[in-house]
Symmetry: C2
Subunit: 226 residues, 2 copies
Amino acid sequence: MEEERCQDVCGYIRSLIARGELHLGDRLPTERALSQALGVSRGTVRDGLRLLESMGVLESRQGSGNYLSNNMGHYLVQSLHFMLLLGEIDYASINRMRRAIELQSFRIAVQACSPAQIQSLWRIQDEMERTRSAETDEAFHAGLIELGGDPLMRIISDALSDVIGRLIGQVLSHGAQEMLVQTMDSHRRILECLEQRRVEAGCAAIARHYDIVDAEITRWQAEQNT
Amino acid sequence: MEEERCQDVCGYIRSLIARGELHLGDRLPTERALSQALGVSRGTVRDGLRLLESMGVLESRQGSGNYLSNNMGHYLVQSLHFMLLLGEIDYASINRMRRAIELQSFRIAVQACSPAQIQSLWRIQDEMERTRSAETDEAFHAGLIELGGDPLMRIISDALSDVIGRLIGQVLSHGAQEMLVQTMDSHRRILECLEQRRVEAGCAAIARHYDIVDAEITRWQAEQNT
DNA sequence: CCACATTTGTACGTATGTATC
DNA sequence: CGATACATACGTACAAATGTG
């Protein structure tokens, strides 16, 4: 067997992108058209397309077609879940990564973001003061990353938040009141530093914030094991 | 058709892991055994296993079997290549992420790494002074991340280095001599700060290093377009 | 609202290639 | 060499979603 014809499918799509004939959001040729163009069966075309789908390069819509997309995050989330399950990584590791991304985003945001953007973060923070929900906490951090404006950091950060989200929710709802107060204190301090364009103080506030979260997660997990 | 039997395969493997009956490196039941146990065809089993393979959860070895592994990085690399191709991210974005990871790893390493570990980095740096190769540059940064000891940062950092590696190689070999001198200067400064456990100075050195690299990449890309 | 063609989704069976042991 | 196990491809059938007339 000559083998690897499904790699040809990937390569063909890749070349269409490289030649500028396909862009993000575009619909691919139908699977039957591809199978005729490349002289392979539809099943083989599907194997190739599913490879691309598993990398988040395209998205299939039943009854409609295959479209170029960018949902790498989706598969990143699943990978992270399995890595957690296999004990290859832990929540502390995920949080270290979130901390690294947030610090870098903050440094960029301090130099680039507008007062209006800061205001929108204040509104999210105000809502969190009222609801004390994990969703608003996630929105706050996602908003901070967004200010950095880096697409890769946003994708990875979103995936990390998704994976750790449930845990944060449990910690927030069952954790000590003191921790909640500290969390929202540090949120406010971060925004104040952002407004006053104080880079180092802001980074210190972010570091303190994650120290608090890390400590609480550790404490909460120890409690679960009893 | 009852559909989604290939998801059952994923779920079954997942449950085997969760129940502690399968660990990293273990060999899975044969495809025929799985197809009998779950009452599906071998092709369906393969569909399920390939889903897991695409997430880096398992690795297939022809003639031997399917093994639980952790090569999420491999697929991360391919995703990143496509994202670059589609213009969803650029090299600057990748470098921002590398900078963020390296800064965080450095902060951890300063507090935790041994003199022997620092010595091994000096040896890599000595080799780079001689060879001025992209490989030793990559080894230097990988070593720095390694000192941080975080598995997630290592995986993501390796993938990023892989994607940007060729570009770094071209920049190093065709770039200005002045840039090479600056690069190795900053490498040495980073190691000196690590030895002297000077956190902030070390972070500043890392930031300077990436500023140099970013500027050179920008300059080099502009040159390519002429 | 219905009917219909199109397109992808899923599964099965079969055949053959190829690496491992 | 032979048995085992995965790799790849093809063909077929039907399900389900979409879009259109």
